[in-house]
Amino acid sequence: MVLDLDRTTVRQARTLARKVGRPIVRLAKAHTTVSVERATLRLAGLSGADAEGTPWVNRLLDAVRADVDLGHGVALPVWDALLREESEDLLTLAQKAAAGSVRFRLPEGRDATRAAAASRRAVGAGIKAIDKRRTERERLVRRIGDAPRQPWIYLIVATGDIYEDIPQAQAAAREGADVIAVIRSTGQSLLDYVPEGATREGYAGTYATQENFKLMRAALDETSRELGRYVRLTNYASGLCMPEIAALAGLERLDMMLNDSMYGILFRDINPVRTFVDQRFSRQVHARAGIIINTGEDNYLTTADAVEAAHTVTVSQLLNEYFAKEAGLEDWQLGLGHAFEIDPAVPESFRLELAHALLARELFPKAPLKWMPPTRHMTGDVFRGYLLDGFFNLAGALTGQGILLVGMMTEAVVTPWLSDRDLALQNVRYVLDAAGGLREDFRPAPDGLIATRARQVLGESVDLLTRMADDGLLDAIADGTFGLMRRPADGGRGLDGVARKSAAYLNPATQILENER
């Protein structure tokens, strides 16, 4: 600890975050969403899509919803229908339902008890499958070997075509990447279904599908063996389908997921309630699957000024921490985000970056922390960009970041080329090998610029949290506190997919995930 933060202030900040977060958890507990229910069906083993590509979980859920209020959950009506022997299995049921030949009801009494038990068995099997994948990961890491050092080197691929992504990801791993993230196509987060199958037509990213997950994980397993280190795979549990994607990630042994409590609200204009409900469920799944989440505070600094808004990053990290722990995630699973986004023209910009990065490091000493590269102030001057990325890497090394997302010199130009990635990795390697040890010699003066700035940001965070504890998080979001985006609680997409839970509501997935920790 080189900053020597005031412990009382730190404790106060966490207490305030709890105070701000608790009403939101209450809100999340009181509602369900179409995606939470579909995720439940997926955990019970329903997959695939109809001829038009609409997933069976969507067809089935829509049919149920036509007959029964969403607030009761999907489990009781569906397993009730199965028990009434309408079909042998979920798929047949979904097909029939799609054809309009099944009617659903909310079972009561013994019927309800039996339906509940059956659903718990079915969903339990899915959760067991996730458990197996987690054990498998632990075994592979042990057998094959882990990333050789921290920070883990995190690289994105984004061709839009899974079959181009795979060789690029393998090449990146060979060149030193410890983590591969497959960026999603621009449109996916607003789709209220998860596309099916292997896909080749994304824009600036590749669709997140179960099959794409499977193909990429298999390819990286092969490469992991070849390299003697387990290469982690990341995708996005984000957008309108985050609960389902979280489930698929658990089932296909993805290792990390982008998953932020407010990103969808702020940057995809998804309804806040929808988001918080989906969030909580998806984090419960991640907790169970042993997946590390990556939060999205870096995004605020692409729209708001990185110096002025530094404390909003800290506040958001504290909230993400609170929500994550409440959902069952442990410290080592908290890849809290922050970024190197100060305008390079600001005097002492590098030292200010160090101050911010150290503050995060020392506020969350056990979290891996995800350190994001400059994007906003990157320009078409790729030489300057390459240098900035080098200093970003240095800041990461000096402040002990856990996950280093590798910056690309073409940030302001194109989605990364093969050569950009190779050059970027060369940059990271040089900085870590040549100057990584400089941390030993980095001792910010106790009242120097760095320590003073870190204290100032912490102070501003406590002030903001104090105000939010009075007015509520939803109001703060509506006011443009984060990333300057104003999002009212009743606006945004996907609100029609939210329902207040009825007294009869039952979700075996939530039950298992909440009771078995």
Binding site: G160, P167, A171, R174, E175, S185, T186, G187, L190, Y203, A204, F267, R268, D269, T302, T303, A412, V414, T415, W417, L418, S419, D422, L423
Partner: protein
């Protein structure tokens, strides 16, 4: 204009024609690959072309850096630029002109269409905060701005334009991979052509950092704005075109 002399790239001496080039070839690194790199440079008009760096990237690709001289001449007098063909007005002048010629507020509907969610650019033009020290269009008393934000579907945009009786529609496109910006813009302009009679169609303006400003005709829009556009330029353009039209 046509007085301008011909020029060549400049390394360290007038006329030396020197340039730097880098690219990847899908070839394993060997002498043939280096020769192939030189061949590409030659086809681009570099002679001599020196392959100064060749780095294998896995077994199938090689990255090259090439330095050399190009013999092409550049004729600045042949350059077509979309020069500003309207006066640059202050907010005050814009307001006065709208008042005078329209006798009502000029209505602007804007947003990012398709799946593009990059709103910083359109916000820089529309929001009060503005860009590069200039206030955005919301600041202009005589402009009514409806900012639809990100990921607006084209039918939704047309609908709002009709409902708001928009004089101008401003669309931003930032993602260019696989020509997304061009496809989306064409879809948008076609939809407006379908929905409106030619003389009632709102002005169509697109902008974004990777647009070619000379492509307006091709894209079926009235104007294209590129990187570094300021709100004042856009406001002045709108006033110029809308008032000219209403005068006609």
């Amino acid at each position: 204009m046509s007085e301008q002399r011909l020029v060549r790239p400049y390394g360290d001496t007038t006329g030396d024609g020197m340039v730097q080039l880098s690219f990847t070839l899908p070839l394993p690194h060997d002498k043939v690959a280096e020769g192939a790199a030189a061949q590409l440079a030659a086809k681009m008009g570099m002679d001599p072309a020196l392959v100064v760096h060749a780095k294998p990237m896995g077994p199938d690709f090689t990255f090259f850096v090439v330095y050399g001289r190009v013999h092409h001449l550049v004729d600045p007098s042949l350059v077509e630029v979309v020069e500003r063909d309207y006066p640059l007005l202050t907010p005050k002048e814009v307001n006065a002109a709208v008042k005078r010629s329209l006798r009502r507020r000029l209505v602007v509907v804007g947003g990012c269409i398709g799946t593009d969610a990059h709103t910083v650019g359109i916000d820089a033009i529309l929001n009060i905060k503005g860009f590069a020290g200039e206030k955005g269009l919301e600041y202009y008393r005589e402009l009514k701005v409806v900012n639809l934000g990100a990921q607006v579907a084209v039918p939704e945009l047309v609908e709002r334009a009709v409902a708001e009786r928009a004089d101008a529609v401003l669309v931003s496109q930032v993602v260019t991979q696989r020509d997304a910006h061009l496809l989306n813009t064409r879809e948008m302009s076609a939809a407006f052509r379908e929905a409106f009679a030619a003389e009632r169609r709102p002005l169509l303006v697109v902008g974004g950092p990777r647009f070619d400003e000379t492509m307006a005709g091709d894209l079926g829009v009235d104007r294209v704005f590129g990187r570094g556009t300021t709100p004042g330029e856009v406001a002045s353009f709108l006033v110029h075109r809308v008032t000219t039209r209403s005068a006609a």
